[in-house]
C-alpha cells in the first residue's frame, strides 16, 4: 500500500510517499522564506499554491511511480496557520477525488512523533517537540499522546527567531544564534520560567531584547538565551521522564537541529539511564513523509474519513486524537 502525504502547516509545503513497510520513497520539501519579518500566513499559502504542482511532480518522479499507484492520500489537518492548512487540504481533497482513493487528516504534532519512532526505532519515548510553531513534552499513556508540559505563550523556535530578527540577523535565526552562542563567554542572567510542567518564553524574549538594546554583547546574549531556554526545556522533559518512568527520550522538530540542545538532553537522558534519539534532520523539520506514514498507520487501524469531514482544525490538540494504532 502506498500513501502520499501532504504537509502544509507553516513555512513548508512537503510531499512524501511511503509504503506499508515504512520505506520512504519520496520526501520533497519547498519552504517559503519571507523577504523580511516573520511568516505571513497568506503569503505562505500563496507560495505553497504556486509550488504545489511541481512539488507533487517531483515527489512522484523521485518515488518512480505514477499517480494511479497511490492508494491513500493523507494531509496535515492541523494544527497550523489557517490559509496554509486550507491549501494543503484542498490539494489533498482534489487528489483523493481525482484518484478515487480514501483521504485521511493527520495531526501534525503526532506525525512528528510517529515518523521519529519509525526511523529511530524508539518504542515508547518521552518526546520533546520543539519548533517555530510548537513546544511540547509528549508521552503516550492510555490510548493517547498526552501533553505533559508545553509552552504557555510562545514556542521556543519563535523566541529564537524573533530575537535573531531584533538583532538584525538574517533568516533563519536559530542556526545563526547557535553559531553566535559558541562565541559567547559571559552568562547574563535571564528569566527562567518553569511553572509546574509548563514553560514560558515571552518574558525571556522581552528581557533579552531589552538587554540587546542596552548594548549587552550579542554573542553573550545569544549564549545566555540558549542556556536559559534549553535548561527549562530539559528540566520539563526530565520531570516527564521521571514521572512516566519511560526508557527513551526523543528530540524532534526544527529546533532539534541545535547541537547544544541535543547535548543537554543527552546528558539528562544518560543520568536517567534512558536512551536518547533524534531523527535525521530532514525528518525533524516539517515534511510530507511524516504525514504519509501517520496517515497510513491511521488507515490501517481502521480510520475512515469522509470528504465532508476534512475541514482544517487550526487548534487541534495533540491529546485530542485517539491513537488506535498503538496498544502501549
Amino acid at each position: 500500500m502506498l500513501c502520499l502525504g501532504i504537509e502544509g502547516t507553516a513555512h513548508t509545503l512537503g510531499i512524501g510517499i511511503i509504503d506499508s513497510s515504512g520505506k520512504i520513497l519520496a520526501n520533497v520539501m519547498r519552504a517559503y522564506t519571507p523577504a523580511r519579518g516573520g511568516i505571513h500566513p497568506r503569503e505562505a499559502a500563496r507560495h505553497h499554491v504556486k509550488v504545489a504542482g511541481e512539488t507533487l511532480h517531483q515527489a512522484l518522479q523521485s518515488a518512480g511511480i505514477t499517480p494511479e499507484e497511490i492508494d491513500l492520500v493523507a494531509f496535515s489537518q492541523g494544527p497550523g496557520l489557517g490559509p496554509v492548512l486550507r491549501t494543503a487540504a484542498t490539494m489533498a481533497r482534489a487528489l483523493s477525488v481525482w484518484l478515487n482513493v480514501p483521504i485521511v487528516g493527520v495531526n501534525h504534532c503526532i506525525a512528528h512523533i510517529e515518523i521519529g519512532r519509525l526511523v529511530t526505532r524508539a518504542r515508547d519515548p518521552v518526546t520533546l517537540y520543539v519548533s517555530g510553531g510548537n513546544t511540547q513534552v509528549i508521552a503516550f499513556d492510555a490510548g493517547r499522546y498526552r501533553v505533559f508540559g508545553e509552552t504557555l505563550d510562545i514556542p521556543i523556535g519563535n523566541c529564537l527567531d524573533v530575537f535573531a530578527r531584533e538583532a538584525g540577523l538574517a533568516h533563519p535565526g536559530g542556526p545563526r544564534i547557535e553559531k553566535l552562542a559558541k562565541k559567547g563567554k559571559r552568562y547574563v542572567p535571564l528569566p527562567y520560567v518553569v511553572k509546574g510542567m509548563d514553560l514560558s518564553f515571552s518574558g525571556l524574549l522581552t528581557e533579552a531584547v531589552r538587554m540587546l538594546r542596552q548594548g549587552v554583547n550579542l554573542a553573550d546574549l545569544a549564549f545566555s538565551l540558549q542556556e536559559t531556554a534549553f535548561a527549562a526545556l530539559v528540566e520539563v522533559t526530565e520531570r516527564a521522564l521521571a514521572h512516566t518512568e519511560k526508557r527513551e527520550v526523543m528530540l524532534t522538530g526544527g529546533v532539534a537541529a541545535n547541537s547544544r540542545l541535543r547535548q543537554m538532553l543527552k546528558s539528562m537522558a544518560r543520568e536517567h539511564h534512558a536512551k536518547f534519539v533524534v531523527p535525521p534532520r530532514e525528518l525533524c523539520g516539517d515534511n510530507g513523509a511524516m504525514i504519509a506514514w501517520t496517515g497510513l498507520l491511521m488507515y490501517k487501524s481502521g480510520h475512515r474519513q469522509k470528504l465532508q469531514a476534512t475541514q482544517v482544525l487550526q487548534r487541534w490538540r495533540t491529546d485530542e486524537v485517539d491513537v488506535k494504532w498503538r496498544k502501549s
Binding site: G80, P155, N158, A231, E238, L241, D319
Partner: protein, 223 residues
C-alpha cells in the same frame, strides 16, 4: 546511618541523624532534602535555581504552618548547598491509611483534609503535588502535608483548581472503591473552610478534569 527515602526528578530525600541537634548530645532523626546539581545546565543557572527553590520551599513550609496547616519543621536552611534539614514526620502516608479505612473514618479524613487544603489556599499557597503519598497521618492524629517542592504562591482560581484536580486524580486512581465518599467529604470540608468562593474553584476543577489538561485552552497559543 543514612537511608534514601525518595529520589525525585529534582531532589533526594535522605533520612539521617542530625549531629547538630537542638540539644547537644541528643541525636535527632531528620530528613535532608537535597536538590541535586544537574550537569546538563550551566552551573550559574543550576546554582541559582537550586538555591531559590530551596528558599521558596522553606518559606512555603513555614507560611503553611503559620496558617495552621501542619508541615514538617524546618531546622536548617543551607542556601549554599541547596539543602533543607527537615523534621522527620512519623506516621503512615495517607495512601496506606486509606487501604484499611472505611465508613465514618474515610469521611472524617476527607473532610479534615479538605479544610486544611482550603486553609492553605486562603493563605495564598498552592501545594502543586497533592498526592496521597504527600499527606501523612501523624501519631498525634494531626494530618501533615509534606513536599512543597512544586508549591507556589498563587491565588488564581486555576492554580487552586489544579490542586483539587490533582488530589482527586490521586485518590481516584488508587483508592477507587472509597473515592466517592472521600472526595465528597473532601469538598465538603473545603467549602466549609473556604466559604462561598469555593464553588467557583470546584467548578473549575471539574472543567480541568474534562479538559484533561491543566491550562485553559483559550489561553494557549499553538503557533
Amino acid at each position: 546511618m543514612e537511608k534514601i527515602l525518595k529520589r525525585g526528578a529534582e531532589a533526594v530525600l535522605i533520612l539521617a541523624e542530625w549531629s547538630r541537634a537542638l540539644y547537644s548530645g541528643v541525636k535527632k532523626q531528620v530528613v535532608l532534602k537535597e536538590r541535586v546539581p544537574k550537569r546538563y545546565r550551566l552551573p550559574a543557572i543550576d546554582e541559582q535555581l537550586r538555591r531559590s527553590r530551596t528558599l521558596l520551599e522553606a518559606k512555603l513550609l513555614l507560611d503553611a504552618k503559620r496558617a495552621g496547616v501542619p508541615t514538617p519543621l524546618v531546622f536548617e536552611i543551607d542556601k549554599e548547598s541547596a539543602r533543607l534539614v527537615l523534621e522527620y514526620v512519623r506516621g503512615p502516608q495517607l495512601k496506606h491509611v486509606l487501604k484499611k479505612a472505611k465508613g465514618s473514618m474515610v469521611r472524617k479524613l476527607g473532610r479534615k483534609i479538605g479544610q486544611l487544603v482550603a486553609r492553605l489556599h486562603r493563605t495564598g499557597i498552592v501545594h502543586g503535588d497533592l498526592t496521597t503519598s504527600n499527606i501523612i497521618l501523624r501519631k498525634d492524629g494531626e494530618i501533615c502535608f509534606v513536599d512543597f517542592g512544586l508549591g507556589e504562591y498563587d491565588k488564581s482560581v486555576e492554580a487552586r483548581a489544579v490542586d483539587l484536580h490533582l488530589f482527586r486524580r490521586a485518590v481516584q486512581s488508587v483508592h477507587f472503591e472509597i473515592f466517592d465518599q472521600l472526595y465528597s467529604a473532601f469538598l465538603e470540608g473545603y467549602r466549609e473552610e473556604f466559604g462561598a468562593e469555593a464553588d467557583q474553584i470546584i467548578k473549575r476543577a471539574d472543567e480541568i478534569q474534562k479538559r484533561g489538561r491543566y491550562v485553559k485552552r483559550e489561553e494557549r497559543t499553538w503557533h
